[in-house]
């Protein structure tokens, strides 16, 4: 298997806190790679280092063999790195379709014209927007302003927006958090049916979702990689249970209800 993304010795501190500490991570093309770990483990920070939203203190990031450590977030996006944020981050004055169209135009429509669009390219963009919204289950929501959506729907728009960027590597930060069971099921469907050219690296607290989707799992703890392996191996590893619960009571770990984002979950780092 060839690595699509690999980072070596990646570190980032906030003051005295080493949020990400010498992380080595390889994501192979075509995999569904889950990143798990307790609250404050540094998962979101790691993702931000990958997208370029944050600058690393040290270490390198390669995408498809190219060193992207020094590239801006914009350039990385153009190279096929796309993400959804843990907190919903959309364009509140626009409709659902307009939100997605912004990304479609940037990644598929060619240049961003400063003249009102002609009919041809416009329809092309519209069709792609329709397809993405249909896939995300938002077909009948397209003319609503995003500020009128429920939280779960807004997260689906996030996903459609990320997919509209035509990613090679899709990074999802807790895509299922705050979704209803039905929405979460649709999300699972959507991610499962993504074409194999799209590699996915996702953070998720809902371990049922993790084991339903992931082909590979990395556990992060206190900013360091605890281990990486197949889902089955992870499930049985005592170190993982210890990291999560501070106990080795396996039963607790896998019957914890899916936590909702934002609430404190034990154990938290200072």
């Amino acid at each position: 298997m060839n690595p699509l993304l690999s980072c070596r010795d990646l570190s980032r501190s906030f003051g005295a806190l080493k949020a990400v500490d010498a992380v080595d991570l390889t994501v192979h093309a075509g995999t569904r790679h889950a990143l798990i770990g307790p609250n404050g483990a540094g998962k979101s920070t790691l993702l931000k280092l990958l997208t370029g939203l944050l600058r690393p203190d040290s270490g390198t990031v390669h995408l498809g063999g190219q060193d992207i450590t020094r590239l801006s977030e914009v350039k990385r996006s153009r190279l096929g790195l796309s993400q959804t944020m843990q907190q919903v981050s959309l364009f509140p004055s626009m409709t659902v379709a307009e939100n997605v169209a912004l990304a479609v135009r940037r990644h598929r429509g060619g240049t961003i014209s400063a003249l009102p669009a002609r009919r041809g390219p416009r329809r092309h963009v519209d069709r792609q927007v329709d397809r993405l919204l249909t896939d995300a289950g938002l077909r009948n929501r397209d003319t609503l302003p995003v500020s009128a959506l429920s939280h779960g729907e807004a997260k689906q728009v996030e996903l459609a927006l990320a997919l509209a960027c035509e990613p090679r590597l899709l990074l999802l930060d807790e895509p299922g958090a705050g979704m209803s069971p039905a929405e979460s099921a649709r999300l699972t469907e959507l991610v499962l049916h993504l074409p194999a050219e799209i590699t996915v690296l996702f953070i998720e607290h809902d371990l049922d979702l993790v084991f339903a989707l992931a082909t590979e799992v990395t556990v992060l703890h206190l900013g360091k990689v605890l281990l990486t392996g197949a889902p089955g191996d992870i499930r049985d590893d005592p170190r993982v249970q210890e990291a999560y619960l501070g106990t080795s009571r396996r039963a607790d770990l896998f019957t914890t209800p899916p936590p909702t984002s934002g609430e404190p979950r034990v154990p938290t780092r200072p």
Binding site: L54, R55, S72, E73
Partner: protein, 298 residues
């Protein structure tokens, strides 16, 4: 080099004096923004009010008594103006910077207009108090003592401000508020009281700077926006919320204003812009500013 320096010594010293005035002015602006996240564009008007008070109380030739009285009155007026500004901006706490800027601009326009209605449109020049109104020979040139006094006063204030901010309990609150305002209110310090205090002290400094600046600039309409812009440039160059930045920025801009104008008359404004541009292209957050305040990538 030596002869160049001698020839331009007066300009260099003038620049130092202007720089010290700007520092006093800028530090209030910088702290009010750095701590309270409010851009106070009425700051220049407070300075001008101070200058007019100096003239009104001291007349053209103040004695030490009237000069001290003017400084006291300006301090009081500044404290009061700061309190009013703090109260007026309070309802805009959750509004955009543009709204706050427009409000303080509106206040500045009204205040400047009221001042010109009260004091007229002439330049109201004042002299320095006795003892400071003469000149001393400096390297063969006669130089006004008062400007040396300004430099000394500015440096003294810089040291005081630095000591207060870095060594005292109040300074600790100031630094903590600059760093993380929510955290400070979370530990039970009343955000509004801090704001009131900072506004009041900042405005009092501006008003006193006005009295001190009277003998240099002369109180006149339009002076408010001139000094406001210079103070803004100082703050932008130095970095918001930083005492050290305000000092360095003020000294640099003081030299550009004085030496630049002496050497390049017509082009001085270009130089001012050039300095601003160079600093901001290299460091968008200013020399000593924190990156996240300017929204730079981290």
């Amino acid at each position: 080099m030596g002869s160049w320096f001698e020839a331009n010594l007066v300009s260099v010293l003038n620049g130092g004096a202007i720089g010290c005035l700007l520092f006093i002015l800028a530090i209030g602006l910088s702290l009010v923004f750095g701590m309270m996240n409010v851009l106070n564009l009425a700051h220049g008007a407070v300075f001008l009010a101070g200058a007019f008070i100096g003239w009104r109380i001291g007349g053209e030739s103040p004695t030490w008594g009237t000069f001290a009285l003017a400084v006291g009155a300006a301090t009081l007026l500044g404290l009061l103006a700061g309190a009013v500004l703090s109260a007026m901006t309070e309802p805009l706490r959750n509004r955009s910077h543009l709204d706050q800027a427009l409000l303080t601009l509106g206040i500045a326009l009204v205040a400047a207009e009221l001042l010109s209605m009260t004091f007229g449109n002439d330049v109201r020049a004042t002299n320095a108090p006795p003892g400071l109104d003469g000149t001393v020979p400096v390297l063969g040139t006669d130089y006004p003592v008062y400007r040396l006094f300004l430099i000394a006063a500015g440096l003294l204030l810089a040291v005081t401000a630095w000591l207060v901010v870095s060594r005292t309990a109040a300074g600790a609150v100031i630094r903590a508020t600059v760093a993380d305002r929510e955290m400070v209110s979370a530990i039970g310090i009343d955000d509004r009281k801090v704001k009131l205090a900072v506004f009041a002290v900042g405005s009092a400094l501006a008003a006193v700077a006005g009295v001190l600046g009277g003998p240099v600039y002369g109180a006149r309409p339009g002076l408010d926006s001139t000094v406001l812009i210079l103070a803004l440039v100082v703050v932008v160059i130095g970095g918001l919320g930083s005492v050290k930045g305000a000092l360095i920025g003020a000294l640099v801009i003081g030299q550009i204003e004085s030496l630049g104008r002496a050497l390049f008359a017509e082009a001085a404004s270009f130089i001012l812009f050039g300095a601003l541009a160079v600093v901001l292209v290299l460091r968008p957050q200013g020399l000593f500013g924190r990156a996240d305040m300017a929204g730079a990538p981290r």
